[in-house]
């Protein structure tokens, strides 16, 4: 009785599951009959608790990769496995933050955040408190009883993030979640996200257009090439400090940050260059 759980009040760390994309491709046929290779022969292994940022030119299959992880799309080749189990559809273990807020206008802000718990039939009082906690975290406690359409775009997006976090997924998939936010809110959300990630040890996949955001947030930055989307750079990041200070001038001018930014930017530039040249080669 005494030997187990000596001392600290922190719960035992449960070994999370490893995410493996094994030689995954996604191609589809357009209405005009053209075959598009959105993602081609991509393999990546992500350990539990990693924060993976995915960057690359528009239309490089970042979102397609995310859709396959979420289970919205089945790869046309290869497999996506989580802890050895193949992904066959969407599930509560993978929370998705979309580019659009995707809130339900017939539910109040609070009810939107409670929705995941409601699906799992968690008692109303419990999910009530949980929702409130996460809404406070994203600074929407005064708007809990409003309808989503009464909120600004940035607030709606924060509500969506609260909804996903309150559902306590093991893996969080975020597709340019901060793209629509103003600079200040964006910085705040970045810091909040890092704190949650540190506290809860979630695995995060984060798509962004901003190289700086990727380096600031990620433990790993993955650069994808233009179509067919492939991983052309997979870089471990080791600079963000424990306090999770926002993307200040100090961090931005740190030599390691500058080196990584240049490296990632160059990779993206080269990725775009390939598409720029391909028509001439035909």
């Amino acid at each position: 009785m005494t030997a187990v759980n000596s001392g600290s009040g922190t719960p035992p760390v449960i070994a999370g599951r490893r995410v493996v994309l094994d030689n995954v491709s996604q191609r589809y046929t357009t209405d005009r009959g053209d075959t598009v290779h959105a993602v081609s022969d991509t393999s990546i292994t992500v350990e539990s608790g990693e924060f993976v940022c995915i960057v690359g030119p528009s239309g490089c299959g970042k979102s397609t990769l995310m859709d396959m992880l979420a289970g919205f799309l089945t790869p046309t080749q290869g497999t996506v496995t989580i802890g050895g189990e193949q992904v066959t559809g969407p599930g509560q273990d993978r929370g998705v933050v979309f580019q659009q807020p995707n809130l339900y206008p017939w539910l109040s802000v609070r009810k939107n955040v409670e929705l995941g718990s409601k699906f799992r039939k968690i008692p109303a009082s419990v999910r009530h408190d949980e929702a409130e906690r996460y809404l406070k975290m994203v600074g929407l406690e005064q708007f809990m009883d409003r309808k989503p359409y009464e909120l600004s775009g940035g607030m709606q997006q924060r509500c969506q993030i609260a909804r996903v976090l309150a559902n306590d997924p093991e893996i969080i998939l975020m597709d340019e979640p901060f793209g629509a936010l103003d600079a200040l809110t964006r910085e705040r959300m970045q810091v909040e996200l890092l704190q949650i990630w540190r506290k809860r040890k979630k695995t995060v996949f984060f798509i962004t257009h901003s190289v700086e955001e990727a380096i600031f947030l990620g433990t790993r930055v993955v650069v994808m090439s233009a179509r067919p989307g492939r991983i052309i750079l997979d870089e471990a990041i080791n600079i963000s400090d424990e306090n999770g200070s926002p993307l200040g001038a100090e961090l931005r001018s740190a030599p390691e940050f500058v080196r990584l930014r240049d490296k990632v930017s160059t990779a993206i530039y080269e990725a775009q260059g390939v598409t720029g040249m391909s028509p001439a080669q035909h």
Partner: protein, 295 residues
């Protein structure tokens, strides 16, 4: 100042009252609209009265407004069978006009009510399961394009001359628009909305009840409005045979008996009832779907 020269008198008036608060201005505009509406209506009545009073058209073809009013009053009251007789005769065809109206409303209620239940369920099935949609859609379109008068005889053979065949007719006329609207509502939902719920752990049933149903409510309501409109246009056809009591039946029978004032009174009652019901459903839809057009 060249602007003065081109300012219309009406504009001058507006410029001269800048102190009016917006709320008052809205009320003034509303009053003006009502006044214009009443004026047009009065002009219409006056023209109708003028044409009939001048004897330009025989009363059989177009009775005067007064005659129509008298017919409506008579249809809602009791009177002696003959001058000086003891026995009273009430309303028309043994029912007051409002009883005729209630009878028709009950049929419409039953037919459209069934159409809503069946149409929404069928619309959901067709909207969510593609193969079923492909198979059933042509039949739905076929039924939709049939004029109800064309198959009322068949329904009477099948279901008899009573209310059952009438309700069937109203149901068949009303359910295709409900089903079509539901299909369009269900298939018009953004994929992300469904994906978001699935990623929150929703089962198929939970997605249906928590996302698809509320998302398509607005379209379902417009379908119901169209269906009720169809039901009104069909109710006369439904009540052609053995349609008493029934406002459509009364309109038809009075026409065949050359009681044109009563026919016109019935038509006016049908029109007003239809508009009132439409306003009711529209407001109910606004109440239940307050987010329409906002998200």
């Amino acid at each position: 100042m060249s602007t003065v020269a081109i300012t219309a008198p009406d504009d001058k008036k507006r410029i001269s009252t800048p102190g009016i608060k917006p709320k008052n201005r809205a009320r003034t505009a509303g009053l003006r609209r009502t006044a214009v509406g009443l004026a047009v209506f009065a002009a219409f009545l006056l023209m109708w009265w003028g044409v009939t009073a001048a004897g330009l058209i025989k009363p059989l073809f177009l009775p005067s407004p007064g005659a129509v009013w008298d017919a409506a009053v008579q249809a809602n009251s009791c009177r002696p069978v003959a001058a000086g007789a003891e026995r009273l005769v009430c309303g028309e065809q043994n029912y007051f006009m409002w009883e005729h109206l209630i009878a028709s409303l009950q049929r419409i209620g039953a037919g459209v009510g069934m159409a809503i239940v069946f149409g929404v369920v069928l619309g959901f099935i067709m909207g969510t399961i593609k193969p079923i949609n492909t198979v059933i859609e042509p039949y739905l379109n076929f039924l939709r394009s049939l004029p109800p008068l064309g198959y009322i005889g068949l329904l009477i053979v099948w279901f008899g001359i009573g209310d059952v065949s009438k309700i069937w007719l109203l149901f068949l006329a009303a359910f295709p628009p409900v089903a079509m609207a539901t299909i369009s509502g269900v298939s018009g939902i953004r994929q992300d909305r469904i994906h978001a719920a699935q990623s929150l752990g929703a089962s198929r049933w939970q997605v249906l009840t928590n996302v698809i149903l509320p998302s398509s409510l607005s379209e379902i309501f417009s379908g119901i409005r169209i269906a009720v409109g169809f039901a009104w246009t069909t109710v006369v056809a439904a009540e052609l045979n053995n349609g008493i009591p029934g406002i459509g039946g009364l309109a038809y029978i009075s026409g065949t008996q050359l009681q044109t004032p009563l026919t016109i009174a019935c038509i006016i009652v049908i029109g007003i009832a239809a508009i009132a019901l439409d306003v009711l459903i529209k407001n109910l839809g606004r109440l239940l779907v307050p987010w329409h057009g906002k998200a």
